[in-house]
C-alpha cells in the first residue's frame, strides 16, 4: 500500500504540469470514444463520426510527438495528409450512405444486410 500511495502522490505532482503524456492520454480517451461509437452505433453517420474521432486522436499524437519528440515538422506534415484523407473518406462514405438510404430507406448498419436484391 505504501508504494501505491507513493505512485499516487507522484501522479498528482505530475498532473498539473502539462507535458507530452497529457496530450497522449487525452488522445487515448478520444480514441476509445471513437471506437465505442464505431462498435455500438446503429446509424451509419454516427459510425462515421466515430471514425473522425479516431482520426483526430491519431492526429493529436502525431502533432504532440512533433512538438515534444524528435519528429519535428514531419509529424505535422503527416497530420495534414491525415486531414486530407479524412475529407475524402467523409465525402465518399456519405455518398455511399445516401445511396444506401435510397435503396433500403434506412441507414441502420445492422439492417442493411443484403448484397443484392
Amino acid at each position: 500500500m505504501g508504494s501505491l500511495s507513493a505512485v499516487w502522490s507522484e501522479f498528482t505532482a505530475w498532473l498539473p504540469h502539462v507535458q507530452l503524456a497529457h496530450f497522449l492520454i487525452v488522445s487515448a480517451i478520444l480514441f476509445a470514444a471513437g471506437l465505442y461509437a464505431i462498435v455500438t452505433r446503429r446509424n451509419a453517420i454516427l459510425v462515421l463520426m466515430g471514425v473522425e474521432l479516431v482520426l483526430n486522436a491519431a492526429n493529436i499524437n502525431l502533432v504532440a510527438f512533433a512538438r515534444f519528440g524528435s519528429l519535428n515538422l514531419d509529424g505535422q506534415a503527416a497530420a495534414i495528409f491525415v486531414i486530407i484523407l479524412a475529407a475524402c473518406e467523409a465525402a465518399i462514405a456519405l455518398a455511399i450512405v445516401l445511396n444506401i438510404y435510397h435503396r433500403f430507406q434506412t441507414i441502420n448498419v445492422d439492417e442493411v444486410s443484403s448484397l443484392k436484391e
Binding site: V18, L20, G34, Y36, R41, E52, A64, L94, L98, I107
Partner: protein
C-alpha cells in the same frame, strides 16, 4: 499551474465531455453539434502544440467541411420533421468494457513511457512557411498524390450520390 496548463485542462474537459455526448447521445443532431466542440478543442490542442497552420486547417476542413457534410447526411437520411431522429445503440455493455480497457491500457502505456519527457523549448516562429516548403520539396510526391485522390474521391462521391436514372 501556469496559463498553458489551465488552458489545456479547459480544452481537455471540453473535448472529453463533448466526445462523450457524441458517443452516448440519443439524439443524432446533438451528437453532430457536440462533434463540433470536440473538433474545436482538438484545434486548440494543435495551437497549444505550436501547430498553428494545422489548427486553422482543422477548423476550416473539419468544422467547416466535414461536420457540415455530416449534418447534410443526417438531414437527408433521417425524417427530421416527422419521427425517428434517434440513433440507437447495440451491444453497449461489452463495448463499454472493451473500450474502457483499451483506453486504460493506452493511457497507462503513455503515462509509464512518456511521463518523464522533458519539455521542449518554445519557439516563437510560425510553422507555416516551413511546412509549405516541406510540402513542395520532401513531401512533393505525397502532396500531388493527395491532390489526385481528392479530385477522384469528390468526382466519385458525386457519381455515387447521384440518383440513378432508369436506363
Amino acid at each position: 499551474m501556469e496559463m498553458f496548463d489551465i488552458i489545456f485542462y479547459v480544452f481537455a474537459v471540453v473535448a472529453v465531455v463533448s466526445a462523450g455526448i457524441v458517443v452516448f447521445s440519443r439524439n443524432v443532431l446533438y451528437a453532430a453539434f457536440s462533434l463540433v466542440f470536440t473538433l474545436f478543442s482538438v484545434a486548440a490542442f494543435y495551437a497549444l502544440l505550436q501547430a498553428d497552420f494545422l489548427a486553422v486547417t482543422q477548423v476550416l476542413i473539419y468544422v467547416g467541411g466535414i461536420v457540415v457534410l455530416m449534418l447534410f447526411g443526417l438531414m437527408l437520411t433521417n425524417n427530421v420533421v416527422s419521427v425517428d431522429i434517434r440513433g440507437g445503440a447495440v451491444q453497449t455493455i461489452p463495448a463499454l468494457i472493451i473500450t474502457a480497457m483499451v483506453a486504460g491500457s493506452l493511457a497507462g502505456v503513455f503515462y509509464s513511457t512518456w511521463s518523464k519527457t522533458p519539455v521542449a523549448p518554445l519557439s516563437a516562429s510560425s510553422t507555416t512557411p516551413t511546412l509549405g516548403s516541406m510540402l513542395m520539396t520532401s513531401y512533393l510526391l505525397p502532396f500531388e498524390v493527395a491532390s489526385v485522390v481528392l479530385l477522384v474521391s469528390l468526382i466519385g462521391a458525386a457519381m455515387i450520390a447521384r440518383r440513378h436514372r432508369k436506363a
